[in-house]
């Protein structure tokens, strides 16, 4: 599903965030991404989504070389992804409901289907009843759950989550990880970054450990 072939990423300043990484993630796998702050976790996820282009090597998603795709083709690849950003990227000029419906609008779902899916997604993350609020009225943790709802509402084949539990207390974090597990069980491929290894340990899945842009054992 996702394949890195000797991928390096050097940012404009000259800093190598990711160094010569090669690995493969199978369809339906659940992979954790661990590492210290600045290890390159976000960079790796951005490379998968085509938000950053590798300086060398190739990133394949569904056997398509993401880094080679043009402006026209890239959006259609991204529609198969669900992205949870570390900095949330919530839109504060519209309601919770309208934030979550965005991926459906882009694809062009019709009205009734949109409503059904959005409410279902909000329910899954424990935000039902808050759909009419403005996101500023949500607490930090609620905002993080809103991001998760937006990432899963269009039922993506791949879910990339960048520190989805950073702002959540342990109970909620476990709820969210259980939710991710349920996605895993219906065949979604998941890559989840987190700095809290204790959470990952509880789930005992494959863990990719990054240190200064390289894998450690």
């Amino acid at each position: 599903m996702i394949q890195f072939q000797q991928v390096s990423k050097r940012y404009p300043g000259g800093f190598d965030a990711v160094k010569n990484l090669s690995f493969e993630i199978q369809t339906g796998e659940l992979v954790f991404l661990a590492g210290h702050s600045g290890a390159g976790k976000s960079t790796l996820l951005k490379l998968i989504a085509g938000i950053e282009k590798p300086s060398s090597g190739a990133v394949l998603v569904n056997n398509q070389n993401v880094s080679r795709l043009g402006r026209k083709a890239l959006p259609y690849v991204r529609r198969h992804l669900g992205l949870i950003f570390q900095d949330h990227k919530i839109l504060y000029d519209r309601s919770v409901y309208d934030n979550v419906r965005l991926p459906l609008d882009i694809v062009g779902f019709d009205g009734r289907e949109v409503k059904r899916r959005v409410l279902a997604a909000l329910d899954k993350v424990g935000l039902s009843g808050k759909e009419k609020l403005n996101p500023v009225a949500l607490s930090g943790g609620e905002q993080q759950r809103l991001c998760i709802a937006r990432a899963v509402v269009h039922r993506p084949a791949i879910l990339l989550a960048d520190e989805p539990t950073a702002n959540l207390d342990r109970d909620y974090a476990h709820d969210i990880l259980e939710l991710f597990k349920s996605f895993h069980q219906v065949g979604v491929t998941l890559v989840i970054s987190a700095h809290d290894e204790t959470l990952m340990a509880d789930y005992g899945r494959r863990i990719l450990r990054l240190k200064h842009g390289e894998f450690t054992a």
Binding site: L74, P75, L91, P103, I106, V107, R150
Partner: protein, 301 residues
Amino acid sequence: MKHWIRLNALALQRTVAAMVRHPLNHGLNLLVIAIAAAFPFGFYLLLSSVAAVTAQLPVEPQISVFLKPAAGSAEIGGIKELLAQDERVANARFVAKDEALKDLQAKVGSDDLLAGLTENPLPDAFLVTTRSDASAAALDALKTELAGRPGVDEVQLDSAWAQRLERLLALGRGLLEVIVVLLAVALALITGNAIRMQILTRRDEIEVAKLIGATDAFIRRPFMYAAAVQGLIGGLLACGIVVTALYWLNPAVTELASAYGQRFALHLPGPLEIGAVCLVTTLLNLVGAWLAVWRHLRRFF
């Protein structure tokens, strides 16, 4: 196809909703666009009104043939026949001296200075309009020929009046060009700015949409609709401003013109002209929106 229509309907619906939600900001923008469009349009109408009047005036070189007071009807008839046959002549008109005096009075503006006249001092004359393609040499030959006829006192080749009018109109057209260029630039910039502002207020939305799989067309669509609506309403408002201004100006202009013995009023714009103005403002807006969105989208993958 159905999907594409839904996407477009959604975009249009949101555009209108946004306008209704922020009536002040959008209204002010529309007003600026309308004002910028009203100026060249109004000036164009002014010029075309004047041009319509001047079209009735002779623009081709004219020859005035003044007859001797003693010229009899036989001599007059001879000249008339000659002029009717000559291929360099487009049109010849006999102006009796009474008619000439009336013309002169109208030109001077009132009967002030001529009121002291005890008898009509003007001669009978032919006013000859030559073909506009006749060469200067041919006209000179015609002049000499006419001057040799019996009963003719003097022949004048007069193109000064026409030249002056031409110059005046050319000046007006030059001015129109300057105004149109200046205000077209201003209009494009203003509409571009309005769209840039909308982009700024929605830059987060654009970024997120791009990141989660929106195509450039999807992102561009609402801005294009907003621009089209803005251009159309702006154009209509511009026409409204112009029509109001003309209604307000016309009585004064008509009165003024009639004081000079002219019948003249500024044309009101016709549906074709209104359509053209709206088309131009809409197109300018669309171009501005397209450029603004393009400039913004370049930054993202």
